[in-house]
């Protein structure tokens, strides 16, 4: 892991309320799909904590996709190229997709598309062509679809039906799982979606990795703030045990 005081090099605004921030590596930003960085601008006392964002691109530039939901994400989305930001990472454990020969099905909900995009592109780079299921409330919240489409087979669901299937992304997943019973699942999105995906997977004994979120302070395994209760009854820490965990660990059936 590294801590960098670096600068924003470019900002794309793929849709209202979203910003794709690129920042300079010194010399390189490293990381695997599913890993994240803790990011903060030079804005003083408030908000005081750094914010967690999944890596979307690594290399000479790193990139994160920010969805504006509160004051920290607002500040980040309002930044300009040249502004200073602090980046700590790569943090946590990413998706493990090495040597998984089977069909990969990636499920993204909302801004959960960030690590899923990087995962899809990594898979594509290694010669796979994953199936990507991407859900959002409406078409205005679907971002970076072209990039997804060049990495895999994309199917889209929106709750308001403004694009693709009207309904939940898990509806699409159900269909795919019927055709592809031996798939490997990789999912990131809101808690409700992750739970639904995980339970489908657990019920079918389909291997499934989910990228979870939790309020964080340190991002480095030290504050013990990001605990989630695992099925085992133990606490797991999203920043250091996760954010990618096996669906079984969290949503496995009671024994």
């Amino acid at each position: 892991m590294k801590w960098l005081r670096t600068t924003i090099t470019q900002i794309e605004r793929p849709a209202p309320g979203f910003a794709l921030l690129r920042f300079a590596g010194q010399p390189e930003i490293q990381g695997e799909p599913g890993q994240f960085v803790m990011v903060r601008g030079a804005w003083g006392n408030d908000p005081i904590l750094a914010r967690a964002f999944s890596l979307v691109e690594v290399g000479v530039h790193g990139a994160i996709l920010v969805r504006v939901v509160g004051r920290g994400t607002r500040r980040l989305a309002d930044m300009r190229p040249g502004d200073s930001i602090d980046v700590l990472g790569p943090a946590g454990h990413g998706f493990d997709f090495s040597g998984k020969g089977d069909v990969s099905v990636l499920v993204a909900g909302g801004v959960g598309v960030a690590p899923i995009l990087m995962l899809a592109e990594s898979m594509a780079a290694s010669g796979q062509r994953p199936i990507v299921l991407y859900g959002a409330r409406g078409s205005g919240e679907l971002v970076l679809c072209e990039r997804l489409a060049s990495a895999g087979e994309v199917a889209v669901a929106t709750e308001d039906g403004s694009r693709g299937h009207r309904g939940y992304v898990t509806d699409l997943l159900l269909g795919v799982l019927e055709k592809q019973p031996s798939a490997h699942l990789y999912a990131c999105g809101p808690e409700g979606m992750l739970e639904a995906v995980a339970k489908m997977a657990v019920r079918r004994s389909v291997p499934c990795q989910i990228a979870l979120e939790s309020p964080m302070a340190c991002g480095k395994g030290t504050c013990k703030g990001c605990a989630v209760l695992a099925r085992s009854g133990q606490y797991l820490y999203i920043c250091s045990d996760g954010p990618v965990l096996s669906a079984d660990d969290i949503y496995g059936e009671e024994q």
């Binding site: 006392n45 302070a217 480095k220 395994g221 504050c223 606490y235």
Partner: protein, 303 residues
């Protein structure tokens, strides 16, 4: 490094007076990949108990204006694992280790002190009688002079290590508690731990913390901490470590002027884990430019 920052807190000698606060820097070793942790004046490790503790139900942290609430519940790996794991590495890295200890009785505190007394590589004990996030022990010892005195005396009898007693802003008579623990043998005082607060998610109508209340920390509470350091400094002559919302040299100097002989950086580590090193560098420059030692500043606020 000129040595200009070298600091004495009673029997405790430190490279410099900028420490990291317990619970906000893990066991220290987690940060060796991003910084030279041996440069830190002292690493107060996460509160250690005799046996491991899983901590409180999540969510355990939430953010508040210019601060945060935490209710970690002293999740820690326990004495044995600490001794055989992180402490070894801390020694290899030549870090200055201050062990924050937590017990539910004076006897538990004493037992921890007795054990640490025999362990190498520990600079001091920080006795946490001020944690607000546990049902037993913690703040319950720190609210009034008598229990605070009792715990301190038990620890004093159990070890020759320098003892820092960490006080609570919720103490009913903080100056009284300070006097009591100094009488009972504390070598230094850490002022302050968090003050309890609460935050509610108005959409879900649930508390933002799993255990309802948590300790408030960060810049938001700095004015309170500076005031308490000032008051404790007037009440006792023991050295004081100022804690609460330190983010930069200016903040550290504020504590010194109020009466502190050292400071700890807590929440600011989450903004930037290198905060303590930045303050150390700036402090050294400041001392050189102003021809003074940190101790020249202690208590020098002009009233």
């Amino acid at each position: 490094m000129t040595g200009i920052l070298e600091t004495r807190l009673g029997p405790l000698k430190l490279k410099n007076p900028v420490l990291v606060a317990s619970g906000t820097f893990g066991y220290g070793v987690e940060y060796e990949d991003i910084m030279d942790i041996s440069r830190i004046g002292g690493i107060c490790v996460k509160g250690i108990s005799l046996t491991p503790r899983p901590g409180n139900p999540p969510p355990r942290v939430c953010e508040t204006p210019a601060g945060m609430l935490n209710a970690i519940g002293l999740a820690n790996i326990g004495y044995d694992a600490f001794i055989s794991g992180p402490l070894q590495r801390l020694r290899e890295l030549c870090a200055t280790v201050i062990v924050n200890t937590y017990g539910t009785s004076a006897e538990e505190f004493a037992e921890l002190a007795r054990r640490f007394d025999k362990v190498e590589g520990i600079a001091a004990l920080e006795v946490n009688i001020s944690c607000p996030n546990v049902n037993a022990g913690g703040i319950h010892f720190g609210m009034r002079p008598e229990p605070a005195r009792e715990v301190t005396r038990a620890v004093r009898e159990a070890t020759r290590l320098p003892i820092i007693v960490k006080l609570s802003p919720e103490a009913i008579d903080l100056a009284g508690v300070a006097q009591a623990v100094v009488e009972a043998g504390a070598d230094a005082l850490a002022v302050m731990n968090t003050i309890r607060g609460m935050s509610i998610d108005v959409d879900t109508r649930r508390p933002r913390l799993g255990s309802v209340m948590g300790g408030l920390s960060g810049p938001a509470i700095r004015p309170l901490a500076v005031r308490l350091v000032y008051e404790v400094h007037k009440a006792v002559s023991a050295p004081i470590i100022g804690i609460g919302g330190v983010t930069c040299l200016q903040d550290a100097l504020e504590f010194f002027l109020a009466g502190a002989s050292a400071v700890q950086v807590g929440t600011a580590n989450y903004s930037n884990p290198r905060t303590s090193l930045d303050i150390i560098d700036d402090f050294e420059t400041y001392c050189i430019e102003h021809h003074l030692f940190p101790s020249d500043l202690t208590g020098k606020v002009q009233i």
